[in-house]
Amino acid sequence: MVDLQRRSIAAQLGSGWAGHGVAVRLLDLVQFYLPCAQPPNSIVGDDPYTLWLAPDRALQVGGTASAGFVSDMTDGLAVFELSGPRADEIVAMGCTLGLSPSACAQTVFGGVRVVIYRHGAAIRVHVERQLADFLLLWFQTALSALQ
């Protein structure tokens, strides 16, 4: 029998959508949960970087797994990236937080739990894979509100 084939969530759902002044992309990024010793809500490093999630939990984006309590979440979390001059309007529609330039937050976006933060000029939103279809529909709907 032939080996199993991987289908990323981005490959499954498509990769790009655009509205007035906002573009949304789905990324296929390597991700791990790992133990955490960094300050609350901090983002540490550039590539890879780690996001504080909870007192004992961080999310590493990119790189390779280290030793210790590590769970591969590459297939577990979908990553949406918002860019464009009106991306913050989409955030204001989905989320009660204003985004600081250098912090991440685990919060509710469009009714689902996400990890959200600024990444350069863009905004990244990590969501459980099973909710990616829902959040994608939410983004597509929200984009249609911009005029």
Binding site: L4, T74, D75
Partner: protein, 982 residues
């Protein structure tokens, strides 16, 4: 009535006429009109009927305070069943209709009710129709009430936004503009919201100048400056709610929105500082028969004149107890009306000169004693302010408008909603804030400021205070307005002291002075009781014009001060808000989040009947062409028993727990012993709440000495993770343990049935033999080249393997398993089929067979309570007398005596005790069992295990019908577990 449009003036665009219909008649207006101003310009007097007496009602106000002009509006596909005509912009093609009348507001058959008004005082409904309200309600509802909602009329979505700012300024009148300018110039990020179409508030219809410019010109310049400073300007936006931590809710009404989107948009604003500058409402001055069309707020009359160039009448009587109406009288006279002014105060204020110079006839110490006219005022009787009889008429004057001003009530709503207290200021005859709430600043009328100069000064002070609180420094000087002539104090005047005629307080709900007097006589002394008994202030205008007058009269009738009576509680929303706008995007497919399985498209392709289960879209079953769901379930269940079935269990939770104290921590949390679980083994466990009630069940795998994998129920995963975190962070922070919810990272498929091993073996080198991988064990290894896990665990009672791979490979594995099983007729089965298979085996479904009262022993699982050495969550509750009662409901099987009849889930097992029917428990699951080819059921029955041992029968009652069933063990299939372990 001769209301008419003037040939010049106003903020309307005469080059852009609009055509709309009123009660089917085509009328015209202009861009810039509201529905009310256009109707007034067309001399339409009757816009509606009152709630109770069906009396004719005309336009009273000019903005949100309007109690009367509530209309049905259709524009294109949109329908507004209760539009406030005074606030809705006029659009071309609008169809506007009056409400609460049959057949129309002009000729309302129900108006005959008014003849019986002496029989219909407040409390009439309670006294007359209870306890048989249900017999009368349909007819009364038909006669009363407002617009009719058309289901599905509006399919628009609504957008909501949440933002934070340094300073939110609520109200863009002179005080709000001054505050916003001061804060923004100091460097604060400012949001300025005003519910009108443009900023400026009273400057738009007043005569006064600021910094040497006409008020409206200054306002326009201020707005331009604010825009330049980056202030977020939100016109047509009402700050309708103040909540904790300076969170405010705003409703923005945009003229246009993207296709499919509604114009209304809700903003949630979190402001570090807030300036409340919402202005004031003019109160009515109450006199007999003051509800006729043509009786309107004096300030509103001025607004119609200045904003819309509509002169509301030709013969206008102005009734007042304060200075503000004099300027109105002068303006109306100068615009071409013949104006008579009556002031209840005996001496002429300084402003009287302005009115008299314009030609207004001023009568001091006077009031309107009565009005006459069938569908609107035609004349007014003027008499002494202290007259006690309607006959004490000094002069009768023709009047098509009676413009009233009973003083001003500052809009304290936001302050009060935020928890602010009020005081009664007898000098200003108004409720004013006792003190601003933390991080809130008051500006304008709410501070008691009456003159423009005072409003501007308070606005500047509020903006400065907000800036200072933010650590900024205000740099701009306050705007300057010439000090007004000293105002003469208003005189508290709450009604004409006659009792022989009705004097209206609440025009929409038909509450009169007599009703308040009656309530007081019946000892409804609290203003909250008065409100509910009389419905004063409970209409859609929320008593903006009636509340203060009502409570002042309650004070009079109960011999108390107004301060002692106090106000009712102010609650959001300040104005009606569209429910859909509050729901925002949470409707339709986005109503609640849904989760999809990694192989969702494969299930759809396989013909799955996809339904929602605990937030997951999952296959219920896979009906073939011509097959019903019920038939598919029976076929799939039989296939799993006879050969092999394939089930997508990817939604099962997968929480990894790791740490040197993982075993100790889980042992504290779970009902079952977990410290002695050997690595590589699984155990079925219950998780309890502190109350001992079963919260969830699931399987725990020990991957390594310090690492466990929990599999909570699909819909409980987030809850279990939260519980783990809560116990760890609050009670056991000293234990070294951490949690990763990896549910989304894995796809899991159950291959279940006698041929399961044969299907799976070619896909992996993992030894699947009963010796190497017995029931409740697991192994890691490669599955078609991908690192995964195989767990020998069964929810069907058959030999079962749960195969897990990273979810990116899920769809591929599903396809591979179907191909590998093709020779065995592998049959995909859904969750409804699984529910039959597990019921045959007597396995519980949490939330189906259990509820908020179920303890472990009720399910027959008492071992851990007896044997487990360490304490665990819920243990103490399992030792209470109630938990140990012998007559608790217990989980049993039931076999209907008629094997073709499936009992209804929820049917009660009943018995008669003392001649009364009582419940002994109920059915929790029931189905036709394909394995037994008969009906089976599971249930929670009092002393159920005892009854099962006796083989007792019970009577199941459902909708009047009785079915007999024998109580048995819940395990119907393979009680020895030979298939499971084979």
């Amino acid at each position: 009535m001769t209301a008419r449009r003037l040939s010049s003036g106003g903020r309307i665009d005469r080059s852009k006429p609009l055509y709309f219909s009123w009660q089917g008649r085509v009328l015209s207006g202009f861009v810039g009109d509201t529905i009310a101003s256009a109707l007034m310009a067309n001399n339409v007097r009757v816009l509606g009927r009152s709630f109770k007496y069906h009396r004719a009602r005309g336009i009273y106000g000019a903005w949100v305070e309007e109690p009367n002009a509530i209309v049905d509006v259709v524009l294109g596909g949109a329908h507004e069943p209760n539009g406030r005509a005074t606030t809705l912009s006029l659009y071309d093609g609008m169809a506007v209709t009056g409400l609460n009348a049959q057949p129309s507001v002009d000729f309302d058959a129900y108006s005959a009710i008014d003849l019986f008004h002496p029989l219909l005082p407040s409390g009439f409904y309670y006294k007359t129709f209870f306890p048989n309200w249900h017999r009368f309600e349909p007819r009364i509802r038909e006669m009363a009430g407002l617009g009719t909602v058309r289901p599905l009329a509006n399919t628009e979505a609504f957008e909501t936004r949440t933002i934070a700012c340094d300073v939110l300024v609520a109200g863009g009148g002179p005080a709000g503009l001054a505050a916003a300018l001061t804060a923004a110039e100091a460097g604060a990020s400012v949001i300025l919201a005003d519910d009108r179409f443009g900023f400026g508030g009273s400057l738009l219809w007043g005569d006064e100048a600021i910094d040497g410019q006409p008020g409206a010109v200054w306002a326009a310049a201020a707005v331009a400056r604010l825009a330049g400073l980056g202030v977020q300007l939100l016109p047509s936006t009402t700050v309708f709610g103040a909540y904790d931590h300076n969170t405010f809710a705003l409703s923005e009404r945009r003229a246009t929105a993207a296709a499919g989107w509604g114009g209304e948009r809700i903003w949630t604003v979190r402001a570090r500082e807030a300036v409340l500058a919402a202005g004031a409402f003019e109160r009515p001055l109450v006199f007999p028969h003051n509800d006729r069309p043509g009786v309107m707020s004096a300030s509103a009359a001025l607004q119609y004149l200045r904003q819309y160039a509509v002169l509301p009448g030709q013969n206008i009587v102005v009734v007042t107890n304060n200075d503000s109406a004099y300027g109105v009288a002068a303006a109306l006279q100068l615009a071409g009306a013949l104006v008579t002014l009556t002031d209840v105060r005996p001496t002429a204020p300084a402003v009287a000169r302005i009115a008299e110079a314009a030609g207004v006839a001023v009568h001091l110490g006077s009031v309107v004693l009565n009005t006459a006219g069938r569908n609107g005022v035609v004349c007014a009787d003027i008499g002494a302010a202290d007259a006690t009889s309607l006959r004490a008429v000094q002069r009768r004057v023709p009047a098509d408008v009676v413009a009233v001003s009973g003083g001003w009530s500052p809009a304290v709503h936001l302050h009060s909603q935020a928890g602010g207290k009020l005081r009664w200021d007898a000098e200003q005859v108004a409720f004013l804030p006792l003190a601003a709430r933390p991080h809130q600043h008051l500006a304008g009328s709410i501070t008691g400021a009456e003159s423009l100069a005072a409003c501007l000064a308070s606005g500047h002070a509020a903006g400065s205070a907000a800036a200072t609180a933010l650590g900024l420094t205000a740099t701009v000087a306050p705007p300057h307005a010439d000090a007004a002539q000293p105002a003469a104090p208003a005189q508290a005047y709450w009604r004409v002291p006659v009792t022989s005629a009705r004097q209206w307080l609440d025009l929409q709900n038909d509450v009169t002075v007599k009703d308040v007097a009656l309530a007081a006589r019946e000892n409804y002394a609290s203003v909250e009781h008065l409100k509910r008994y009389t419905t004063l202030g409970m209409a859609t205008d929320q008593g903006k014009t009636s509340n203060v007058n009502g409570l002042a009269l309650l004070a009079e009738f109960t011999g108390r001060d107004i301060a002692q009576v106090g106000t009712t509680t102010f609650r959001p929303p300040f104005v009606p808000v569209t429910l859909g706008a509050i729901a925002g995007m949470k409707h339709g497919a986005l109503y609640a989040p849904w989760r999809r399985l990694p192989a969702h498209s494969e299930h759809v392709a396989a013909g799955a009947d996809i339904r929602e289960y605990g937030g997951w879209w999952r296959p219920a079953c896979y009906p073939r062409a011509g097959e019903t769901a019920a038939q598919a379930i029976q076929r799939e269940a039989a296939a799993a028993r006879q050969s092999v079935g394939l089930f997508d269990g990817s939604s099962l939770g997968k929480i990894v727990v790791e740490g040197q104290d993982a075993a100790a921590f889980l042992n504290l949390l779970f009902y079952n012993e977990l410290a002695n679980l050997k690595p590589g083994k699984l155990r079925y466990v219950l998780l309890l709440r502190e109350t001992g009630v079963v919260y969830d069940d699931g399987v725990v795998a020990r991957i390594a000495p310090d690492r466990y994998l929990l599999s909570p129920s699909s819909s409980h995963t987030a809850g279990v993770l939260a519980l783990l975190e809560a116990w760890h962070q609050t009670e056991y922070p000293h234990l070294k343990v951490a949690f990763h919810d990896t549910t989304g990272a894995w796809a899991t498929f159950a291959v279940s049935g006698p041929n399961a091993r044969e299907v799976l073996a070619p896909l992996t080198k993992i030894d699947l033999s009963a010796e190497a991988l017995p029931h409740m064990a697991f192994a890691s290894g490669r599955i078609l080249g991908v690192a995964g896990r195989i767990a020998r665990v069964s929810f069907t009672g058959e030999r079962s393997y749960e195969v897990s791979v990273p979810s990116g490979y899920g769809a591929s594995l599903w396809t591979a398993l179907r191909e590998a099983g093709a020779a065995f007729g592998i049959t995909p089965y859904g969750i409804e089929t699984l529910s039959v298979l597990r019921a045959e085996k007597g396995y519980i479904l949490i939330g189906t067979d259990t509820d908020g009262m179920t303890l472990p022993d009720d399910l027959g699982m008492s071992g851990p309570l007896r044997a487990k050495k360490v304490d665990f969550v819920g243990k103490r509750s399992l030792l209470t007398p109630d938990a140990l009662r012998p007559d608790r409901r217990q989980f049993v099987g039931l076999l209907p005596l008629d094997p073709t009849q499936v009992p209804h889930v929820g049917a009660h097992a009943i018995e008669f005790r003392d001649g009364k029917r009582r419940s002994r428990g109920w059915i929790t699951s029931a189905c036709h069992s394909p394995a037994l080819d008969r009906s089976i059921a599971l249930g929670m029955i009092e002393r159920g295990r005892e009854l099962a041992q006796q083989g007792a029968e019970v009577e199941l009652f459902h909708l009047g019908k009785i079915m007999k069933a024998k109580v048995t063990s819940p395990v119907f299939v393979d009680p020895a577990g030979e298939k499971l372990h084979g």
